[in-house]
């Protein structure tokens, strides 16, 4: 399964909500879709989910154009919006069962599909409770079960962690990882970057409807920073002497103290890091801590975006 978004454009009057976005998501990948408020994330996800139509551009799943064949796309896509189910007169089981039927499941096939997603999302103990009586975390599970009941190949999640407590977030993250392990592609938008950082294989960053970053966090960080930082601590020499030693080593662009540790900046890549450690040991340094610093998604996001909205 491969989702391809090709030069997607969506205008609302003179406002360019989405302005020429291109990226793809493959099977087993979890792609984080991030951007400031009003950047065009929800609009893009709604177009992918066939709820809105692009002004131009295309969305393809395995080569099939979704705008042209929305019915074909719907069977492949599980869409999870940011709104939670709130019905007072419907149980969690009935809600999931309805969507199973809405996708054409009947009889034993339906019961099997519903039981499968209820077991997967841990809904079984709560299946007969009305939706309104469930906690936010449980509603989010119901929403996930609904999105997965027809066994889609692509899961599109819009701000799934909004308003969840830490436990519910961790549980949701584990569920998302389990879905990805089942070979499904996941496109997930969120404002909680630390969550995405841990669960996404790559990220797509948009701002004012335009794509400003696409790739793994490490790749994006690498493209943003010419050097790589290594945090280290040694029993000998003393920290100030260690900084001087580092500055003398070939390939070290800069070195300074950060708290009780030293920070060295070396060229990007594993070779430079390995060379640094070898050189330090060779010169008699008794290294007890040596940690290449990975730039986080938050840092990448802050650098890539300017905080402007469409």
């Amino acid at each position: 399964m491969k989702l391809e978004i090709d030069n997607l454009i969506r205008h609302f009057g003179s406002t360019r909500a989405v302005d020429g976005i291109t990226f793809s998501v493959g099977a087993g990948e979890v792609v984080g879709f991030v951007g400031p408020n009003g950047a065009g994330k929800t609009t893009t996800l709604r177009i992918v989910a066939t709820l809105d139509e692009a002004t131009s551009g295309d969305v393809r799943i395995d080569g099939v154009s979704i705008p042209d064949y929305p019915e074909a796309g719907r069977r492949q896509i599980g869409y999870m919006p940011d709104a939670l189910p709130e019905h007072a007169d419907m149980t969690a089981h009935e809600y999931v069962d309805f969507f199973g039927r809405a996708f054409g499941f009947r009889g034993a096939g339906l019961r099997e599909a519903v039981a499968e997603v209820e077991a997967f999302t841990g809904l079984e103990p709560f299946r007969d409770k009305t939706l309104k009586s469930l906690s936010k975390g449980m509603k989010q599970r119901v929403s996930l079960a609904r999105a997965l009941v027809h066994r889609p190949e692509l899961l599109v999640m819009d701000e799934p962690a909004n308003g969840l407590d830490p436990r519910a977030r961790i549980e949701l993250r584990e569920l998302v990882q389990a879905v990805a392990e089942n070979g499904k592609a996941i496109l997930i938008s969120s404002h909680i970057l630390s969550e995405l950082d841990e669960m996404c294989s790559s990220v797509v960053i948009i701002e004012r409807g335009r794509l400003v970053g696409n790739g793994t966090v490490a790749t994006l960080a690498g493209s943003l920073r010419p050097t790589q930082q290594v945090l280290l601590r040694a029993l000998a020499p003393a920290p100030e002497a260690l900084v001087r030693l580092l500055l003398e080593l070939p390939g070290v662009a800069d070195a300074h103290m950060r708290g009780d540790r030293c920070m060295a900046e070396v060229p990007p890549g594993a070779d430079a890091v390995a060379d640094l450690l070898a050189a330090l040991v060779q010169r008699g340094a008794r290294v007890v801590e040596f940690r290449p610093e990975q730039a986080g998604l938050e840092e990448v996001f802050m650098k890539v975006t300017r905080g402007e909205t469409a």
Binding site: T50, R74, P81, A83, E86, M90, F98, R106, R146
Partner: protein, 490 residues
């Protein structure tokens, strides 16, 4: 496979929700309580006569009990049920539940049919709950069972039409202000529907007025059934169109149904005119048709400019089919041209009827509106719609959205209709000061020169169409199959 597997998923969902709904339970218990109290009051009110030794059977209290239960049931089915169904639909729209249903493979018509089917079951439930009281009415004598059953059936049919109307209004109301206005408007209309149905049903039972022994007797119920079916099917197609995503090709179902209903009712009007030896039925049909076509033409005026990809993906590559599709597919020019042509065909039918009359057809009286007033109406409405289209394209689009173009046209029409009368306030004759711009001027008995009014309205309409010609041609050129040949089909 059990029975639920054969059901429309939406019906099943609605029924499950109704079973849990406190409002439905309260409605049922309330209905039974009110019915019980009402029947008790009717019986108690005849207690004095019972003391004089007249048995219940001889007295014939059945029709009194039936009247009371029928009125309570009518209020419940025609007043409470449509609001219940309408509010449920409205709340699903606002909490994005409907949006989620669009991500499934359910068809929009399945959504509408499912909700209507569940509502019909609700109507049957309430009618079934009234059966013990209706049986009591029968046992008390004085009640014609056939008439009572027919009256109850009529009530149920009107209730189904009200459910369709409620769903349509709930689907149409996208903003809170619009919703409030619709509820207020609906309240006034519902008062008339409820009182009219109660009066009709009770008259049917109390006067034993409905007979089906001859073809003539069957004409009125037949017309009622045809009208009911037409209204339900039209509301169904309009609601289906409204619950579709905005980018979808929403118009064909509605326009095809209206065209079919126009033909059907035109045929009925023609037969009725032949039977009654009067052209009036044809004129009434033509009047309603011209107003309806222009109403839908006005709705098309508020369509988004250009064509969505989903619309173009459904356009046939075959030329003759594409030409036919142009009139029925979503698009401003498409809808307006369809309304223009259908109005012209209606006028042509009226002219043919008039010619037949002049040529010695057996029609004798023709007291309804004739061709000339209808032509004044048609030309004026056409002129307003196409002038506003030209105005919006050339100027107004800088300030107002295309959605408001139809509202502007309606406002101008009202102004054109009312202004001549407003200007005449204080004059001794109280007649309209001028006829130009008033679509209904042809129906004014005081109008002296209808020919010049028709001619001026025709020239205005022709000019408006001429100004729109480049846009119309551009729309026709843009209406081409947009399927990318390189794309893989699913």
């Amino acid at each position: 496979m059990n029975i639920s597997d054969w059901m429309n998923p939406v019906t099943l969902k609605e029924l499950r929700q109704m079973v849990r709904s406190r409002m439905v339970a309260a409605g049922l218990i309330g209905f039974l309580a009110v019915s019980l109290i009402t029947v008790s009051l009717v019986l108690l009110s005849s207690q004095g006569e019972l003391r004089h030794g007249i048995s219940l059977g001889e007295q014939g209290l059945g029709d009194s009990v039936f009247n009371a239960i029928y009125s309570v049931l009518a209020i419940l089915l025609l007043f409470a049920s449509p609001y219940f169904v309408g509010f449920r639909m409205g709340s699903e729209r606002s909490n994005e539940h409907l949006d989620l249903q669009y991500t499934t493979v359910l068809k929009p018509r399945q959504l509408v049919d499912g909700k209507v089917a569940a509502s019909v079951i609700l109507i049957l439930l309430f009618t079934g709950a009234s059966l013990p009281f209706l049986s009591l009415a029968y046992l008390l004598r004085g009640l014609d069972v056939l008439q009572a059953l027919l009256a109850t059936l009529m009530l149920m049919l009107v209730a189904v039409a009200c459910i369709f109307a409620a769903l349509f209004l709930a689907a149409a109301a996208t903003s809170r202000v619009f919703r409030v206005l619709l509820v207020l408007g609906m309240l006034s209309v519902q008062g008339m529907i409820v009182s009219g149905t109660i009066a009709g049903g009770l008259a049917m039972v109390n006067t034993r007025g409905l007979s089906l022994s001859t073809w003539s007797d069957a004409a009125a119920p037949g017309l009622f059934l045809a009208g009911w079916l037409s209204a339900c099917l039209l509301l169904r197609s309009a609601t289906t169109s409204l619950v579709m995503p905005a980018a979808a090709n929403r118009s064909p179902a509605v326009r095809v149904w209206i065209t079919a209903l126009w033909g059907f009712w035109g045929m009925i009007a023609g037969l009725y005119a032949w039977h009654e030896t009067s052209t009036s039925p044809i004129m009434v049909w033509a009047l309603i048709s011209i107003l309806a076509f222009n109403l839908f033409g006005g709705a098309a005026l508020s369509h988004a400019p250009g064509y969505s990809r989903r619309v173009l993906s459904e356009v046939s590559p075959r030329r003759w089919r594409r030409h036919l599709q142009f009139f029925f597919f979503s698009g401003a020019e498409n809808g307006m041209l369809w309304a223009l042509n259908m109005g012209a065909l209606t006028l042509l039918a009226v002219l043919v009827a008039e010619w037949l009359r002049e040529a010695g057809w057996k029609a004798t009286n023709h007291d309804g509106p004739e061709a000339m007033p209808l032509a004044v109406l048609y030309c004026h409405l056409t002129a307003y719609l196409w002038s506003v289209r030209a105005l919006w394209r050339g100027l107004l689009n800088r300030w107002i959205t295309y959605r408001l173009a139809g509202v502007v046209a309606a406002a101008l029409m009202l102004l054109g209709w009312g202004l001549p009368y407003l200007a005449a306030i204080g004059s001794p004759t109280h007649t309209a000061t001028w006829a130009f711009g008033n679509p209904f001027a042809g129906f004014d008995d005081d109008l002296k020169d209808i020919v010049s009014t028709t001619a001026s309205a025709f020239i205005w309409a022709a000019l408006a169409l001429a100004v729109n010609l480049p846009g119309l041609l551009a729309a026709m050129r843009a209406f081409a199959s947009a399927r990318n040949p390189r794309e893989r089909e699913p």
